[in-house]
Point group: C2
Chain length 250, copies 2
């Protein structure tokens, strides 16, 4: 059944009101009619099955038939902070990371980021990434809509460390030196409901100075196995492993 | 240090001979000179550090300085059989799957594959995917070069089942029905050195008839967590989880 995210205020006790691009998708692409059913999630863990009662060019209304229990969210809130990579890799990270259960994404300008975003580009990219996250969340049947923040500097990123239960940095040198146990120990130390910030460098990895600042601020360095992963693959490895550890092994 | 794969016969006890596209990369792109060092792997678990002794337009020769111990291979040989997906998703699966440690890839024509390959296209695609695997294997510091086979039919694929220790099928319905333990049990049943065939359907998933044939031939159906993954993400989830289970938890 087709799925759509709506803002929390668009979902009352009994009704859902849909506006914006999704109206076109429901009416034109899916050609749904009054009486047809679809699923709506408010992005805050409330997911409902509903039946269309009215539509026009700008608005679809539907009555709620059934409250569905939310069960597609990772028990750990994982925020992926990705050093700005080249090309369309950030879109890839947001799309695949959303499928794999990430709670939020923070793009940040790392020392070795080749790409630079000015304010205008940063705003445009944020809107674009939010759209990609919404589509991926609908397709993968998420109950929460991942948050994509505005681009951060490394200093701004470090200031957020204290709001997380654990901060992990993917560090290529750890992989080269054969250190493969820190990530497992870190996951074992986490409990359901806790939050994890996962930092991934851009193509060239983190600069020494960045590693120093991050570890001084309490971050733990770790590897994701013996192979050297590209920047856009690292967070996906971590998210899949987190899902395996917390969702499948239980 | 730069890495290159060579055919086993290009590596003797003491020397490596490089021919083909890599010569251009070494001489023109990297601008290496006699005396410069690089790493060579023969794709069969022998990896060496070597020093260039001679080059011309078509050939580079290097003497072996050090035998490196091979340690970047998954302890389980994982073959990813991917139902032909749309667009460039198969290239993506091979690139990322190679980074994540896959041993081989078998593209196959599934009932719901929209794309059809004739003989000419199949040959061209195989060559292209082999090139992608080689580049990804070099970049991720693999010691083995993943094999990409010619496209299989589902019947040909089923005939290979008996050559694997375990055959798993990613099945969306298992995810929907909340079955999340089979994959873990399957991994727990495997030991280092054993082989796993992982079957992933195309965009529309497997047809009922295919599921029937595969399970009758001994395959086990499993889910990769509670979220619905796109076809190109499923094998990456499985490979990351396998790495976590066999390489990190030890």
């Amino acid at each position: 059944m087709q799925r759509y995210f709506v803002a929390p205020e668009q979902m009352t006790e009994t009704m859902v009101t849909i506006t914006g691009d999704d109206v076109k998708h429901i009416v034109r692409v899916m050609r749904m009619k009054v009486g047809d059913e679809f699923i709506c999630a408010n992005g805050k863990l409330r997911t409902v099955r509903c039946e269309m009662t009215y539509f026009d060019e700008t608005c679809v209304e539907a009555k709620i038939i059934e409250e569905l229990s939310a069960n597609a969210e990772l028990p750990i809130e994982v925020t992926v902070a990705q050093g700005l990579p080249k090309g369309n890799k950030l879109e890839f990270v947001v799309q695949k990371g959303t499928e794999l259960g990430a709670h939020s994404f923070i793009p940040f300008t790392a020392h070795r980021s080749v790409v630079k975003w000015n304010e205008k580009k940063a705003n445009r990219q944020q809107t674009r990434l939010e759209k990609i996250a919404k589509e991926a969340a609908e397709q993968s049947h998420r109950d929460c809509l991942p948050i994509v923040t505005h681009v951060h500097s490394i200093e701004q990123l470090i200031q957020t460390f204290s709001t997380f239960d654990l901060v992990l940095v993917g560090f290529e040198e750890s992989a080269r030196m054969g250190e493969h146990h820190t990530f497992v120990k870190a996951l074992r130390s986490l409990e359901s409901g806790q939050s994890l910030l996962l930092l991934i460098g851009p193509e060239g990895g983190f600069a020494e100075e960045e590693i120093k600042k991050m570890t001084e601020a309490g971050a733990t360095l770790c590897s994701f196995g013996p192979r050297i992963l590209r920047t856009e693959t690292a967070s996906l490895y971590a998210l899949a492993a987190i899902s395996y550890h917390f969702e499948l092994k239980r």
